[in-house]
Amino acid sequence: MKKIDTRGMSCPQPVLMTKNALDKNPEGVDIIVDNNTAKGNVERFLKNSGFKSSVKEEGEDFIIEARK
C-alpha cells in the first residue's frame, strides 16, 4: 500500500498530499502524520471524500489507513 509521509509539513500539505495520492491510488493509501492537527484535518478530508479511515499510533506519529 502506498505510504505518504507528511511529517514536518505545514498546513495544508498533509491534506493536499493525501488528496494527490488518492487521485493516483484510488483504492487507498497509508498516511503518516506527526501531529493532532494534521491527523484531524486528514481524517475530516477522508470522511468528506467518502473514504474509510483507521488510525494506528507508531511512536510519536500516527499512521492513517485510508481505504475506499
Binding site: P12, V15, L16, N35, N36, G40, N48
Partner: protein, 351 residues
C-alpha cells in the same frame, strides 16, 4: 469543543469578546488586530517612533500564553522548526506591510465588516484573490520543506519572551514607549486585555481557527470547517456591535480606515497570498508560536520587524490614505511573493 459546533461557538465568543474589548477601551472595530497590535508592540519597544501607535498590547501576550498553556495541557506542545526560516521571516514582513496598507489583519478585516465598515469588502475581495493565487502555487507543489524536532528549550523561549513583554508593560521602565494620544493610547485595562487574549488563544488553539484556511480549504477541498469560524466572527461581532450601539454602516468616516478601495484590495491580497505561503494567517502564526513551532515564531518576528520598517520608511496607511512609499513597497512585495512562490514550487523548479 469538537467539530463544527466548536468552531462556530469559538467564532461567536471571539466576536463578542472583540466588541467587549472596544467597550472597555480598545480602538473602534479593533477588539483584536494581530497586525495593529504587533505594530503597537513594535512601537512600545522602540522598533519605530510613530508616537500614536506605541503600546505593548496584552492581547498578543494572552494569545501566545493561552495557546501555550492549552497545548501543554493537551500534550500538543512540541518544539519544532527549520522549515525555510528566513523566507518565513521575510514573508512575515510582507504580510505586515500588506496589513498596514489595508489597516488590519484578516481578523480585524472581519471585525471591521461586523462593525459596518464597508471598506472591508474591498479587503475581503483582495484577501480571497490573494488566497486564490497562493492556492495555484500549492497545486504546483509549493512547499517550504519540512520542519524538524528542536530542543525543548527552543519551544519555550518565545512564550517566555511574551511574559517578558508583560513585565515591561506593567513595570513601564523609561525606555518603553506609551502613546499619549491616538490608537496606541486607546486600550482596555491590562487584565481584561490579557484575559481576553488567554481565552481566545486557548479556543483558537483547540479549534485550529485560521482566517486564511477558511477560503483556502474551500477552494482546495470544498471543506467549510474553518470558513464556519470566519463567518461566525462576522455574525457575532455584528450582533455585539448592534447591542452596544457601535454599528455604523458605510464607507466614509470609519474608524482607523481609509476609503481607497484599490489599495484595500491590494493590501489584503498581499496578506492572503503571503499567509497561504506561510501556512496560516497572522493569528494562526501567533497560536502556533505558543505551541512550540519556532517557524511561526520567526514569522511573528517578521511581522514585528515589518511593522518597524513600515513606520520607519513611511509605508503604512492612515485614514488619509496610502502613501507613495507604501505603494512602491507593495509592488516590491508582490514581486517577492512571486519569486518565493515560483522557486519553491516543485512542479516548476527542481529543488
Amino acid at each position: 469543543m469538537e467539530g463544527k459546533k466548536g468552531i462556530i461557538i469559538t467564532g461567536g465568543i471571539i466576536g463578542i469578546i472583540s466588541v467587549l474589548l472596544v467597550y472597555f477601551g480598545n480602538p473602534a472595530n479593533m477588539g483584536f488586530c494581530i497586525a495593529c497590535f504587533l505594530r503597537d508592540i513594535a512601537g512600545g519597544i522602540g522598533l519605530h517612533r510613530a508616537g500614536v501607535v506605541q503600546y505593548i498590547r496584552p492581547e498578543i501576550i494572552g494569545l501566545v500564553l493561552g495557546a501555550f498553556l492549552i497545548s501543554f495541557k493537551n500534550k500538543e506542545f512540541e518544539a519544532k522548526g527549520g522549515s525555510s526560516p528566513f523566507t518565513r521571516f521575510m514573508l512575515g514582513i510582507v504580510v505586515m506591510i500588506g496589513a498596514l496598507i489595508f489597516l488590519g489583519c484578516p481578523l480585524r478585516m472581519v471585525l471591521r465588516l461586523g462593525g459596518g465598515d464597508l471598506n472591508a469588502l474591498f479587503g475581503i475581495a483582495g484577501f480571497i484573490a490573494g488566497i486564490f493565487v497562493g492556492v495555484q502555487f500549492l497545486n504546483k507543489g509549493f512547499n517550504l520543506k519540512r520542519n524538524y524536532k528542536m530542543p525543548k528549550l527552543e519551544g519555550y523561549v518565545f512564550p517566555a519572551v511574551s511574559v517578558g513583554w508583560l513585565i515591561l508593560l506593567v513595570a513601564a521602565p523609561a525606555f518603553i514607549f506609551f502613546s499619549a494620544e491616538g490608537p496606541g493610547s486607546m486600550a482596555a485595562p491590562v487584565l481584561i486585555s490579557l484575559g481576553a487574549g488567554l481565552i481566545v488563544g486557548a479556543l483558537a488553539q483547540k479549534t485550529r481557527l485560521c482566517m486564511v484556511g477558511g477560503t483556502r480549504d474551500m477552494i482546495l477541498f470544498r471543506d467549510k470547517y474553518l470558513l464556519l469560524g470566519f463567518i461566525s466572527i462576522i455574525v457575532f461581532s455584528f450582533i455585539g456591535n448592534l447591542i452596544f450601539g457601535f454599528f455604523n454602516l458605510g464607507f466614509e468616516g470609519q474608524p482607523i480606515a481609509h476609503t481607497d478601495g484599490l489599495w484595500n484590495f491590494l493590501g489584503m491580497s498581499l496578506v492572503g497570498w503571503g499567509s497561504v505561503l506561510l501556512g496560516g494567517c497572522p493569528l494562526r502564526q501567533l497560536i502556533l508560536s505558543g505551541e512550540g513551532n519556532t517557524d511561526s515564531v520567526v514569522s511573528v518576528m517578521g511581522l514585528l520587524v515589518g511593522a518597524g520598517i513600515a513606520h520607519n520608511f513611511g509605508l503604512a496607511a492612515s485614514p488619509a490614505g496610502v502613501p507613495l512609499n507604501g505603494k512602491i513597497a507593495a509592488i516590491i512585495c508582490f514581486v517577492f511573493l512571486g519569486a518565493v512562490s515560483y522557486f519553491n514550487s516543485s512542479d516548476l523548479v527542481k529543488n
